[in-house]
Amino acid sequence: MSSLNQKSLLEVRDLLQAGEVTAVEAATACLQRIDATDATLKAFLHVDREAALSQAKELDQAGPDPDKPLWGVPIAIKDVLTVDGMPATCASKILEGFTPFYEATCVTGLKDAGAVILGKLNMDEFAMGSSTENSAYQTTRNPRNTERVPGGSSGGSAASVASGQVFAALGTDTGGSIRQPASFCGCVGVKPTYGRVSRYGLIAYGSSLDQAGPLTRTVADSAVLLSAMAGHDPKDSTSANEPTEDYLAATLDRKDLKGVKLGLPKEFWGQGVDPEVEAALLRAVNTAKDLGAELVEVSLPHTEYAVSTYYIIAMAEASSNLARLDGVRYGHRDKDAQELIDMYVKSRTQGFGEEVQRRIMLGTYVLSAGYYDAYYRKAAQARRLIRQDYLDALDKCDLICGAVSPVVAWKMDELIGDPLKMYLMDIFTSPLNLAGLPGMSLPVGIDSAHSMPVGLQFMAKPFHEADMLGAAHALEQAIGPMAPVEPV
């Protein structure tokens, strides 16, 4: 890859602002990198070469704009987020050919900041999955080891960033779908507080859980993106009215971890994590200590109920959110069906992949008469207890630290036949979505058994992304960020 592809987002944007690199050059470098690697990686579902280059040309004609923090920076978007005029399939056949005429607010934020959108990235169908193997179109590979999964559901986003195809990608996180692929591919992934980033234009999976967020190669890069994405949106009733910050300034400000209390939940350490993974995490935590962090033990006693709670709520919401995919107004329709209900049934059965069908059915079940109280309502009660766990723990520390995933990226096809086993992999990420708190994954090393990246998870108080980014940045500076890799 060219030296340009290897740079961080901040580095390339400085070059763009200084006029040393044009927007067209930056976009071209990324497009070339995509051409060189995507046949193997299969991260992209859609590359819009013409739109990207013409957008870049327009920017060049106007000249660099210091008020646009992402001026000329090429990025890509997970296919679950709508970009005006670009297809949005959610990696599903049921949305094949669908082109939205409206756009996600967070994407418009990035465009307003001057970013150039290269295309749409692969994912697990409708964000349901932890390996991107559930895409109806193609399977994305982990650039560190192409026989292994990139994680999911934002696998395309993580693979694209980690391989140097783009300087940043947007993903979404409902139960870990930004943090886990980031940790699997060796890049940074941030899930903001629920309500920090608008969900308008984000095709919904779990409405009370979803958040869009950045995947980048460095923490500071994510901070820049977050500032461009965050903020109240009157089109999203769940978007918070909290003031946004200059996350980059707050991030760069932190040079060490003096005075920072890191809480290590006893449920996240010592058991349930692969020993090689834990070893890598402990090395990072020790580095944090060297930087001045104080380690405290905390407890999140309801962790064992998190996966059940998460899946009941997510599936219930998804079963309702996906009801609009009925072949009436958009998407796939079985044109041979002569009768209405037949049309609905055939279109949906043909259009949805197996994992999606499974979750729609389970979601329907847990909401149905006679089961609502035992499952959905019960899960909502457990959810409150889980959130309280986090808020109580965060009274005793500034940030909670632990694993993102019990294991490193597994091999293709290894878990796809056992849905429950796959669900259990969300044990450390899903409770954060239930609680609605912010979290991120920082790549901290490679495991010795499989030579695959390990991510350390930071979790913070609501709307305290700045604390999280700052601490992660300080640690990253000490450890060194992961360089983009050639697909292996």
Partner: protein, 100 residues
């Protein structure tokens, strides 16, 4: 959660599929039923948790009700936009097989 373990059979799976407007082959339904039983069996864990007196939390949002002022604005998108992805349309309506 029921005290006895709920076991879903193929008919139960078929009934759920019907509610969800899905039509799956018998062998798929049988496989799903097996997976559902495993998954629901795991979720039954939740019944051990004492949640008496706990108010359900359906969303982490804690801010005040968000309102929109009552002003009509039809200028955001056109009918062509709205119909642009329709599998069948005559430019005015969405067309579906006759609703009986």
């Amino acid at each position: 959660m029921s005290d006895e373990k709920t076991t879903l059979g193929v008919e139960d799976a078929a009934a759920i599929a019907k509610l969800a407007r899905l039509d799956l082959d018998q062998d798929v339904l049988a496989r799903f039923a097996g997976q559902f039983n495993a998954i629901l069996g795991y979720m039954d864990k939740l019944s051990e948790l004492d949640t008496s007196g706990v108010e359900p939390m359906y969303s982490p949002s804690e801010h005040a009700t968000v309102f929109r002022e009552d002003r009509a604005d039809n200028d955001r998108f056109s009918r062509d936009d709205v119909l642009s992805n329709a599998p069948e349309s005559d430019g005015s309506f969405f067309i579906v097989p006759k609703i009986v």
